[in-house]
Point group: C2
Chain length 277, copies 2
């Protein structure tokens, strides 16, 4: 089976490494010749080009560009493909992409492999990056079942844990467990910087609790803004719900309702392990 990959960064490159190692013929496209050369030398692709025309023979095409370039890339690449080619993407937000693409390219299946490292680019690509990691597919009721079956088979070969969801469900789930936490964590860091008089003491006393709670809020600002931008509706919904929950805690403390606060914290202690399987 011939498989194409547009965008040879961490995700595209790692997909290529896995697929080439499993005997697929992989056709890679990058905007940079240097990336093509590295991808070839690392065996992340069988063929590499700057040009979409290389993709004509592929049965399945992974779009692995940054989130903001996915829909425009799909529109540009379609003229080069056979109309039976299955297109999938790896964007971390699904609804806007799925809604826009599906109505003019039925053979599209939104996808989101939830794997990564702290590094970016083809040099950071890794064999087995997706092994044991969640991989969400968001087909619509009109997606051809053969297309889903074909993509499902490839993803199972990566060793990923495959989940199916609607694009909306996916976006709400990642808003809750990934995008909103960035904002929640960033607000904590900024709160600690408000109080100039005790700033230095707070900095000196902060330890593992602060380190963990603040980690994602101190991450890449571009990524955080992109999450809010592309997943605005779900992120806001999550943050409104969060404000309400925090308000409950605050009102328990104000009213010294220690039994209700105890109940709240017992519930969160009991529920957290269900998210850490």
């Amino acid at each position: 089976m011939k498989i194409g990959i547009v965008g040879l960064g961490l995700i595209g490159g790692s997909l290529g490494l896995d697929l080439v190692s499993q005997g697929f013929e992989v056709f890679g496209v990058s905007r940079h010749q240097k990336t093509c050369d590295i991808a070839l030398s690392r065996k992340a692709v069988s063929h590499a080009s700057l040009d979409f025309s290389i993709l004509t023979p592929v049965e399945l095409l992974f779009i692995c560009t940054p989130l903001g370039a996915i829909t425009s890339t799909i529109k540009s690449v379609i003229p080069y493909l056979s109309k039976n080619t299955i297109i999938t993407d790896v964007g971390s937000v699904k609804q806007p992409i799925v809604e826009e693409i599906t109505h003019f390219y039925p053979n599209f299946i939104g996808g989101h492999p939830m794997a990564g490292t702290a590094h970016q680019g083809i040099e950071a690509s890794l064999l087995n990056l997706f092994y044991n990691a969640p991989y969400v597919l968001t087909p619509t009721p009109s997606t051809p079942v053969e297309a889903i079956a074909k993509l499902e088979k490839i993803i199972s070969m990566l060793g990923s844990k495959l989940y199916f969801a609607t694009a909306e469900q996916h976006d709400q789930a990642v808003a809750l467990i990934s995008h909103a936490p960035v904002m929640i964590s960033a607000a904590l860091i900024d709160t600690c910087c408000v109080n100039q008089e005790i700033l230095e003491l707070a900095q000196n006393l902060a330890s593992s609790g602060f380190r963990d709670t603040s980690r994602v809020g101190g991450g890449n600002p571009e990524l955080g803004v992109m999450m809010a931008q592309f997943n605005k509706k779900a992120v806001l919904k999550a943050l409104y719900q969060y404000e309400e929950k925090l308000g409950q805690i605050i009102s328990n403390i104000e009213q010294e309702n220690w039994s209700l606060l105890t109940e709240f914290l017992e519930k969160t202690q009991a529920n957290r392990p269900n998210f850490l399987s």
Copy 2:
């Protein structure tokens, strides 16, 4: 120098291990004979008793009971001490204790060694637990300078990083970097449990970002409530400031003011490392 310790748990026991190993004669008091026996066998104390009367010869006394028992313990033990005995405690909130004790026992210095493990009790006590950890002292303007100097010398022998602050400053700083984060993190866990329809998907997709941001919110409920109870004023102040910061982020997202959101996240990215020295 003879040193006393009331409360032979993780903190009291670890203090004892360090002090005995440095040649001090350590007098330990616990409510349980078994704890006394273990403390003696681990060399966390030189002498152990269920009875405060053992403490009469000590020059310096550490109160290492749970937070809620500190002031009552000090009141009960004072009749057994020489009036020159310096008393210090290890409670994680300082203002209520310092305010109550100082006006009837001038030789008291509030203290907070910020070290711990996931375990509790004398069996969990460790040599060098306080090495390189922050240790805050909160003397008042009327605390005798000789008492401060004597305690400072002992703490420097533990290898701790010593900081001086007012009790109020201490409580505000720990509210920001330790107590409020518990509430902020717990509210996130509960928010993720609101949406029954996507709960299972969210649980399956949660990874390291969620794990870190939710860690302290999934901790011991009793500890969380105790922080809120004893440090109510400072915790509420921190949470009100936090609500305002989160509100700024939400309004930037609502108004699609991506440049302001970028600025915010750039600031938190730049500021976080100052808390991780």
